[in-house]
Symmetry: C2
Amino acid sequence: MHQPEITRRKSRQITVGSVPVGGGAPVSVQSMTSTATENVAATVRQIKGLEALGCEIIRVAVPTRQAAASLGAIKSRIAIPLVADIHFDHRLALAAIEQGVDAVRINPGNMRRQADVKAVVLAARDRGIPIRIGVNSGSIRPRGAAPKTAKPLVELMVEAVLRYCEDFESWGFRDIKLSLKASDVLQTMAAYRAVASACDYPLHLGVTAAGAGEAGIVKSAIGIGSLLAEGIGDTIRVSLTGPPKHEVHVGWQILEALALRRRSPEIISCPTCGRCQIDLPAIVRQVKRRISARNSHLRIAIMGCIVNGPGEAQDADVGLAGGKGSGLIFRRGQRPRRVPANRLVQELIAEIDKLDT
Amino acid sequence: MHQPEITRRKSRQITVGSVPVGGGAPVSVQSMTSTATENVAATVRQIKGLEALGCEIIRVAVPTRQAAASLGAIKSRIAIPLVADIHFDHRLALAAIEQGVDAVRINPGNMRRQADVKAVVLAARDRGIPIRIGVNSGSIRPRGAAPKTAKPLVELMVEAVLRYCEDFESWGFRDIKLSLKASDVLQTMAAYRAVASACDYPLHLGVTAAGAGEAGIVKSAIGIGSLLAEGIGDTIRVSLTGPPKHEVHVGWQILEALALRRRSPEIISCPTCGRCQIDLPAIVRQVKRRISARNSHLRIAIMGCIVNGPGEAQDADVGLAGGKGSGLIFRRGQRPRRVPANRLVQELIAEIDKLDT
């Protein structure tokens, strides 16, 4: 298959713990804990669950001194890099850095004095850890300004981030990644595009506060996916109201949909229509269940009829095209063979086994 | 809010029954039945269910003469335009047109002779109905061609569609919309972009055979959403393995995420983190349930803490920012007021009621 390729924006590379971000490194999947960070046991448990699902960098909120003091204990018990998320109080950032976190995320705009921001930057420089400058739509709007006279939000976000970068650079610090998340998809896309062309820092992508359920998945997939398809973005975090493991799943699905990463088989399956004479949804469910533990990169086509079925099945590694009471089974480079409907799943799995050894 | 705007591609306008497509008309949401079209009662029941969910154009497969003969009865019992999907046998298309369908979808590449295609086009012209030329990745690959010498799939798809357009035009027919769906997201995007710049026919967008569950939603949202964000696309159909009502929901979510259409309140809600001291997911669920029947275009922010909460809540029409045991309630242009945690939902709904009358 001639896959159109994504030409990625050239960005500087930083490393978050053991994970390179930017400079052509694989786009990594992040999440954030929803536990109280002060509760080390609960936080470690949640992080380990997320690690198992493919979370590659984890961030925790650090709203209190006790949360900051818990970071060393958390870090010692997890395998993936730990990022401390700090707002308002720079002393919490200093304490987090002291505890050995792999990166901090701050929004310099909500710390009181520039000297406080500088103290955090110098501490990170001394420890050799990067900082994410993270500006969200909810943090940037000048309060009270009349909407008609205010600059567009996107412009304000980009200006703020670039100003903070200049400050950091003036302090001899370039170990930076940036995020400019808006709760609106088009604003998010516009903000990242503008900053992507204005600097070479690696970018952490996300649509902030995307909401719950499918609406949140759709917003995140469009916002993050469109930017990635343009080559913009070095690490991603999907923000969904609900358990963070869901964010990791959706993050991977975005990367797989664009062939930026692959870790599981891809199933191409049709929606079925009045032509379909096999129970395709049941076949898809059964095949999914039986291959769920596999890490191979196979493309598996499961198609209901002969209109597009044989074509998709031939383009895939293995495939199935339904007929009346039977179906055709395809494997890359082999002649298709007809199989009765009740044996389609097992024959398809047998073909997968031949390729995925 | 300064919303970046989508500049839509200028396309010709056609009308499918009562629904304009292209030429600046609202992007419409389509689906396709999964029932046997020969079964009029089941098909009408499914279509009526989809109408109620916001499906604006419905397509049915017409694989048999009996299916074609059922179309008049189906059409007489539904309110939305009916499109007949026909492959291989042009006589089925002629019969469908005779039955009074509002449009037909064909892939001229799978009909035997050009004279057959011409007969369908002339019949549509006589009836004054449009034709969708729909070419899918699974239909276009020249069978048996060595992958290395074959042209890229996307190029083949675009060439084929433009060639069919020329044929139709030579027969005096321009009442056309086009689709070029691939099962791969990047191929889909490349194919639509190429055809969008090569002609002015309206475009029906979709990622074909996107699969089941969230992976299918993510593929569809990225493929369809990226194109729409670029201004490409006049009507959409999400193809998911599973009940077609799901396709209609996701289609609307894509249009709403890009502010191309609005029919329900938008909920901006954060993923919660170690800062959140209210049960935000429960509040979101309760608010969702209590506003589910509303058609207003309100933006409702439900945020866990003071980092980005007040900002998002002020940008929304109504909003809530959580604190410890209480929260702030916001309404456009009003001073925020503090409310105990157990009254947050009802106070938020009360504010919504004030705006949504």
